[in-house]
């Protein structure tokens, strides 16, 4: 499997990467770990005349927790997410999810930035970022801007990132809440049939805050405000959970593929979400 020919760029400064993007527009793409992009290039489903490898750009692999704000460079790998102690403490939700992504070899190379910027609805990090209400930093020829994760995804592979922009950083608040990432997949390394990220806070036995997001159940990751609202103020009894699940199922729009027909995916989504809510509550 040989990809079409391309020019390879490995700039050592972000400004150089942006200059190459500006020069070549749609003909250029940045690459982090390459574990989504290279397979697509090998299949010749992606034709990229100018490939820009970000590995030499400084500081993109840093993780920092300052106060309650967590910042991760776009080149932080899934393996780093699993082993970084500060991150595991500040946002254990991410570690629980990263352990369910791909396999060990892929996690050494696959990055958080690549996962969120790619726009593939099957990727896990976009849904997690909905749940965490994360912010993405985009740097382009006209400067730096922040885009909320919940406003970033427009359709499959379509995001708010402009062609000449690079997603450099992901930031979000550390979570004290009970958390869970539940993922149903056919085998290790597979994408989710359905996955759900849940954060729940408990105050006096009642749910005081809730954030519910879902992966691979629509052409974008889904943040379900209705499901979150359905849980707040309740004691998470069966009726409340059922109501939240029903609200969440109203927000998704899965399509039939080799993971099953729509009815099956709706069923699995309900089961997965129920489990995620229950586990998050047990940790709240």
């Amino acid at each position: 499997m040989i990809p079409a020919p391309f020019s390879y760029h490995r700039p050592s400064a972000l400004t150089d990467a942006i200059a190459i993007l500006s020069e070549h527009g749609d003909d250029a793409r940045v690459m982090a770990g390459g574990h989504s992009l290279i397979p697509m290039m090998k299949l010749r489903m992606a034709d990229i005349p100018h490939l820009i490898d970000l590995q030499d750009i400084p500081n993109l692999s840093d993780i920092s927790v300052e106060g309650s704000r967590v910042r991760m460079g776009a080149m932080v790998t899934q393996a780093q997410v699993i082993t970084d102690q500060g991150l595991a403490h500040a946002a254990p939700l991410l570690k629980e999810a990263a352990l369910q992504i791909a396999d060990p070899q892929v996690r050494y190379m696959g990055t958080v930035g690549g996962n969120v910027a790619n726009g593939d609805p099957a990727n896990d990090m976009p849904g997690l970022m909905q749940c965490l209400d994360a912010s993405f930093t985009l740097v382009g020829p006209n400067g730096t801007r922040a885009v909320n994760a919940r406003a970033f995804y427009e359709a499959a592979y379509m995001t708010a990132r402009e062609d000449e922009e690079v997603l450099t950083e992901i930031s979000f608040d550390a979570h004290a809440a009970g958390y869970a990432y539940e993922k149903q997949k056919r085998k290790i390394g597979d994408y989710a049939t359905a996955a759900s990220a849940v954060l729940l806070s408990k105050d006096g036995g009642r749910c005081s805050s809730a954030s519910i997001a879902m992966t691979n159940l629509s052409d974008t990751p889904i943040f379900s405000e209705a499901a979150s609202t359905a849980l707040i103020g309740t004691q998470l009894d069966d009726a409340a959970i059922k109501q939240a699940v029903s609200a969440a199922l109203g927000d998704i729009d899965p399509t039939e593929d080799n993971r099953g027909p729509v009815a099956f995916k709706m069923h699995v989504a309900g089961v997965i979400l129920t489990r995620a809510i229950q586990r998050a509550w047990s940790r709240a």
Partner: protein
């Protein structure tokens, strides 16, 4: 428009230098350019792990790395781990415990297992199954692969203790 790249990398302790097209994948560099045929091509889609090597301290599937990404890297393949006269403890354990049937997945299995034991010298069976989940054996000989890695871990820990 696709100028060749001037590549330098270290493979099994030996420095290599050559010109390559950017679309060359590391597995082809190893097998066809450098005649290092231990890493195998199985699925070629980053699922099976037969092409697993160690690159700059990471277990990596060499079928999913462009040669430009590996420029300057330090690569170890199964050839860099032991020799017929002095087998690596993992190689001895795979031989002893019948950790291979057809043997096609074995170089990737052993290269990955070496990194796993470096990070976790005393893994449980579950740790091994999870840590080896990126490597497939089409003979489905997983039972003995796990047994071999457990045995190698015990052997390596005993040797380390004896040396201290």
């Amino acid at each position: 428009m696709t100028d060749k790249l001037h590549i330098k990398l270290t493979v099994n302790g030996q420095e290599e230098e050559f010109l390559a097209e950017p679309r060359e994948l590391l597995i082809y560099t190893l097998r066809e350019r450098l005649n290092i045929t231990g890493p195998h091509i199985g699925c070629e889609t980053s699922h099976c792990g037969a092409c697993t090597i160690t690159m700059d301290g990471k277990s990596v599937k060499a079928c999913t790395v462009f040669i430009g990404q590996a420029n300057g890297a330090d690569v170890t393949t199964i050839e860099g781990m032991g020799s017929p006269d002095a087998l690596h403890p993992l190689q001895s354990a795979f031989k002893e415990h019948h950790g291979l049937q057809c043997g096609y997945c074995t170089p990737g299995m052993i290269t990955r297992a070496a990194k796993l034991l470096e990070e976790n010298p005393s893994p449980t069976e579950e740790d091994i199954r999870f840590g080896m989940s990126g490597n497939l054996c089409r003979c489905t000989g997983y039972q003995n692969i796990v047994k071999s890695i457990l045995a190698a871990a015990a052997e390596m820990n005993a040797a380390k203790e004896a040396a201290e």
